[in-house]
Symmetry: C2
Subunit: 368 residues, 2 copies
């Protein structure tokens, strides 16, 4: 009598979900180095944006409330599905909570099994800065050395260090309506070989800036940057305007420059672009990366990256962090999906352990 190879033999091998906690992720980034982590992440992003057509894309879902928004961001290729849960509640800092908190998952497209769950609060900060750098590499003037950084909250260190370490920015000019935020950023940047200038206004911060990064949090139609404040040759890295009713740039800024976006259908809804007519011309960045559209075409041109954050960036960040954590041996296991001796017998989970075993035995006897 030949014993059949039963489903039960194979099951346990597929049912592991790995988990990366914020503590483990932070240890991993400290060990790797924050700039090196963002360098690797920018490379993963370039690989994935370079095969843009491989992905099933959609604008994220957004549930809005008076003080914030909660979003789900799914994307998939033919091998993996990724999604991120993320909120945006600028009011949170008043009660000691972060404005942005996130987690997410990678799952197998062939089976639907969620194979990796990760913190994404820290990872989102890293991937947002890595995306800004990937894009600025193609759009900012190659001789850019000075960056204005307007908005000095949770994301600002990551933007500062990514542009310093990966793009050659030497002077950073900081401004925030909250001076304590600027002091915090300056203190965090002190150990780095960066010239840091704390400014008393946006205009002061913009003095001599080759690149302007806006990364403010208020959920409001704000004008962090007016049309008169952008000058020829500038690259505007507009990170904070990322949901309906939340903008940072005057419409005139968008009109004066060439505007680049991640995924046009989503940016039309969420970006600074929401202020513009539906036929206002923009370029999806992947086309620049693949040589299908020009990036910056002259030293005097103004370029604008209207960043909102797209699911593909989280796909790249998740796969990069999983690889990094896997290599470092810091992945934990999370019991998320039940293991079943017979996948059609979910109910067996509810039988007392002894009864479940005899049921399995009975079934094996029948099948043999």
């Amino acid at each position: 009598m030949t014993r059949k190879h039963t489903a039960r033999d194979a099951a346990p091998h597929h049912l592991e979900t790995f988990f990366l906690s914020p503590t483990r992720a932070a240890e991993l980034v400290r060990r790797t180095g924050v700039v090196e982590t963002m360098r690797g992440m920018a490379q993963a992003l370039e690989e994935d944006f370079g095969r843009w057509q491989d992905f099933e894309k959609s604008a994220r879902t957004a549930n809005h409330s008076p003080h914030g928004v909660i979003e789900l961001m799914p994307v998939s290729d033919d091998r993996e599905f990724a999604f991120k849960y993320v909120n945006g509640h600028p009011i949170n800092t008043r009660s000691g909570l972060p404005t942005v908190m996130a987690f997410g998952a990678l799952a197998s497209v062939d089976t639907g099994m969620p194979e990796f769950i990760s913190e994404l609060t820290l990872t989102t900060a890293l991937r947002t800065a890595a995306t800004s750098v990937m894009i600025a590499r193609r759009l900012a003037r190659p001789d850019s050395r000075t960056m204005a950084l307007i908005g000095n909250g949770a994301q600002s260190e990551f933007q500062a260090l990514a542009f310093h370490g990966l793009l050659g920015i030497r002077q950073l000019r900081l401004y925030d309506v909250d001076p304590a935020a600027t002091r915090k950023l300056a203190a965090n940047l002190a150990p780095h070989a960066l010239e840091v200038v704390c400014c008393g206004s946006t205009d002061e911060a913009l003095r001599g800036a080759d690149i302007v990064t806006t990364v403010t949090a208020d959920k409001a139609y704000a004008t962090i940057l007016g049309g008169h404040q952008v000058v020829p040759g500038m690259h505007v890295n507009a990170v904070g305007g990322d949901c309906p009713g939340k903008t940072e740039l005057a419409a005139e800024v968008l009109r004066k420059g060439r505007v680049f976006v991640e995924y046009e259908p989503q940016t039309r809804i969420e970006g600074d672009l929401q202020q513009m007519p539906a036929d206002f011309e923009v370029t999806e960045f992947w086309r620049v990366l693949r040589g299908e559209a020009p990036g910056r075409t002259s030293a005097a041109q103004i370029t604008v990256f209207d960043s909102v954050g797209f699911a593909l960036e989280d796909y790249s960040a998740l796969r990069y962090m999983r690889a990094l954590a896997g290599a470092a041996g810091v992945l934990e296991r999370l019991e998320l999906i039940p293991e079943l001796a017979d996948p059609k017998n979910l109910y067996a989970l509810l039988q007392p352990p002894a009864a479940a075993e005899s049921a399995v035995a009975a079934r094996t006897a029948v099948a043999a």
Copy 2:
């Protein structure tokens, strides 16, 4: 000198994410009793469907692949946001994996904090059956005693026990193209005071049935139930046809009966309803629950519940299971969101512990 109450004092209290694993969920349901769990869940469902207008609703996102689908299902009211990750891969059982695997979360709408992460593989089976019962209570004939159960896979025990324990079904007539699935279901039902008849065909299973539950898994345009097979007075509980290209009922079944749905925009895309013209009349069930639309209006009427599974059901199931698990003290903690002394200083996570402490000290000194 008065010490300020700083954000740091408050933060840790808000940053706990509780976790319910499949093992703990199964223990909890065993202890509570599977029928009692579904009774409580059906009550939670009625409460939430009864305040339908409180919820921000959308059709779920679906990423399709040749062998399956991966979906995200968000919903929120003014207090909580819920979402479920769920796949559907009928081919999985061939390699020992469940067809459906799921997990999900509840988050605070005020802060965006994910406060509860739970397994939803087992919970989805419970909530799907509890939903079917909630709806059959209003649509099936009150004297219904016999149910045909077509499709005897992972979901079938839950449908059987819910209709037996909560609706008074006494005879169950089982059919599946896979006889081993029927044997498994019959064995699992053996300890219960139910008359179980294993049938060799759908027609045999339908003999004398007051209710027909179809819960098959193939991702195909299937005709599990033809127009000639439904008879006056029948209630059709059609659970398996739940994504584009996956149906169970002949169009004629829908034309012969009055059709009830969860959330019309989603069912038009995913339900058996996908076969019908856009103006084919259906009733959203919440209207029946609230007395705004009639349910069954005569003993001879044919009623059809075109079930696809809606995010609100997972909201109800998540809050019910959290309450049950909380009362039983079986919730675990999951480190998912980093705790920050200063919510604007995410970067502090990347500083060596000693440096981070002195940074906090420096900051406190400045603020004092």
